[in-house]
Symmetry: C2
Subunit: 359 residues, 2 copies
DNA sequence: CCACGTACGGACAACGTTCTCTACACTGGT
DNA sequence: ACCAGTGTAGAGAACGTTGTCCGTACGTGG
């Protein structure tokens, strides 16, 4: 006979009390305790009171793991994000958390620092936890391997009744069971670029990430299309495409550009954080914003309002993104088809791009 | 006989494959599959390969819940925070997450918006999940009820081998099994206030939260002690104590003060976010920083460097706070005594408080 | 050729719940 | 007085793992 693993000896009193302890103390059966806790079956008032007292006394809490195994659902969702410290992602995380909590779900988090290997590992962990849905928040490097991997994951999750949810990434193609909630990178960048051109800017320095990154791809494409539509040829030498989205990278890249001949009148920064660095670089070069150089950003994080001059940027409804994602994923109808939702974005005008350019 | 709940009928193919499916496909017993997965027992190469192929084919992942029930540990930690959107908390969260991941633990999150009821509910949820430790991040409203509640929770968690960890809150008193990792609010505020007084400021407007909130209590007490030590009586009418820590509240409170007679030369904002609002208020009143009004903040979040002029503030090692908390809690020795750790803080000087005051 | 160690694999209890089935004591209608 | 119905409680299988115990096949040394 297999021996009881948790001998009373090896860990005296150092264990959580179980439903059995409660039943014994209250002098009832396991079933009765279970019913008092679940409240899904009539229990006589006197019995109920006795059980409740025992629960109180023993400080009993049900064991989720046993509950799930015994036929319940885990009521857990997982989300995976590059870095929780980014203001935009934090807002999306907040939306997911709030909406999940409203539905009685608890959240698992993992961060990846953009590493696909860690992303994969995190997803695996959440599959093990039987999360009801897995949210991937933020852009990704798009290529064939990525798509194959995601399609695979989407199908695995779907097969077990869970759901892959892409927040802020494009869909994977037809027939893949995935929920996608995007915001309009292309459209927002189009509007923002039009705004700049409308203010007379023709030579705009674009400071962004790598074009294989989906977010960059979308914003850059909106930029190009607007420039094209408005008759301003894009000078490829004014595309400053790097690999990261930090303030420091914005500062350095704009500083370097400013050291040579200044051949642009505006900066389109791909994120507000980069814009913050860009603005500091302009000031440190002894120039002013928007008089010498106009600057616009993207995301409309709180920082945008704190910069001086206030940053003209594109508002992205990150919190709503998170909420919408949870709603779609958790309340989705029985059908297993793909879902796609695109959230709008709009330009928020502040002072950082206010004056007419000298054409 | 109890019927199998998940009839093949009601959910065709919509279920995760189990170890049993793998065993059948590979033609081995459950034990063998378990051993291949765990890798803690010799399995012949040929058998191992067959099992691995079956796992691959069925896309099998172990069920955490069953694993935990079958004697394993959940390898889960939970953390609870007022709001993930705060930059400072986000950093602490990041520290916890990174350090927990390094130890193979996955994180559960919950947010409370500062509501003690929701905090309690979240803790309960994490007890149900059998989290190895529960981290409470950020200050709290301190009173007798709070202390009793926390002591109770600490003991409950301790009784089941888990641990309550307070990050950025004071200890609960002797004999309570709790891990505390604090940063020095009192000391940081003392140093910052000394800095201001050293620059000639005598009349300093303190803009902060409610003194029953532990963070406010600490910072305000450091402020008072420094003023006292340096021979500057604290004018109670210059204590602007409100209930929240938003940018808007900083803006409004300082704006209102500026509308009357300006009877202060510096603003001590209890957080950088409040300082951001305060700075905007000063500018909007047509005054300049630091020439007319010096401003200092607290926390040294990224915003502090983006403000213009750069914000003089107190650096708090939030990420390290999170890391230290995980280390203490997860690697703690067998003894169940309380642990206490205080992280230092230091003043970071930027331009927002640079000129000599007109005495 | 036999005893014996070694490498491997299977059977089965246990983990803490939930759910279904069954049992029992009343009640009230006939 | 009997039976159906109702309100309440218990017994026990099942959930998907892990760990322990126990076989069996295959060498290998005496």
């Amino acid at each position: 006979m297999a021996k009881r693993r948790n001998d009373a000896l090896d860990d005296p009193e150092h264990r959580q009390s179980t439903i059995k302890d409660v039943a014994e103390l209250a002098g009832v059966s396991l079933s009765t305790v279970s019913r008092v806790v679940a409240g899904n079956y009539p229990v006589a008032q006197a019995t109920r009171t006795r059980v409740e007292r025992a629960i109180e006394e023993l400080n009993y809490v049900a064991n989720t793991h046993a509950r799930v195994l015994g036929g319940g659902s885990a009521r857990t969702v997982g989300f995976i994000v590059n870095d929780v410290r980014g203001a935009a992602f934090a807002e999306a995380v907040h939306g997911v958390e709030q909406e999940a909590a409203r539905r009685g779900h608890i959240c698992l988090v993992a961060t990846t620092d953009g590493d696909p290997v860690r992303e994969l590992a995190a997803i695996q962990l959440m599959r093990e936890q039987r999360a009801a849905a897995v949210f991937l928040i933020g852009g990704a490097t798009d290529n064939a391997a990525y798509r194959a991997r995601m399609a695979d994951i989407a199908r695995s999750l779907d097969a077990s009744g869970s759901r892959l949810v892409l927040c802020g990434r494009p869909p994977l193609g037809d027939g893949i069971p995935v929920t996608v909630v995007e915001y309009d990178n292309e459209g927002g960048a189009y509007a923002l670029t039009s705004f700049l051109v409308g203010r007379g800017h023709r030579r705009i320095l674009y400071v962004g990430g790598d074009p294989t990154f989906t977010t960059t791809a979308g914003r850059l494409s909106g930029f190009r299309r607007a420039m094209g539509d408005l008759g301003c040829p894009v000078d490829e030498s004014l595309l400053e495409l790097g690999t990261d989205f930090t303030r420091a990278s914005g500062y350095e890249r704009v500083s370097a550009r400013l050291r040579g001949e200044r051949d642009f009148t505006a900066v389109f920064a791909e994120t507000d954080v980069i814009a913050g660095g860009a603005m500091a670089a302009v000031f440190d070069a002894g120039l002013s914003v928007p008089e010498d150089v106009s600057i616009v950003g993207y995301d409309d994080i709180p920082l945008a309002a704190d910069l001086r001059p206030g940053l003209t940027t594109v508002h992205v409804p990150y919190e709503e993104l998170g909420r919408a994602a949870v709603r779609s994923a958790l309340d989705r109808p029985a059908g297993r088809a793909e879902q796609h939702q695109m959230l709008g974005a709009h330009v928020v005008i502040r002072r950082s791009a206010e004056r007419q350019s000298p054409a």
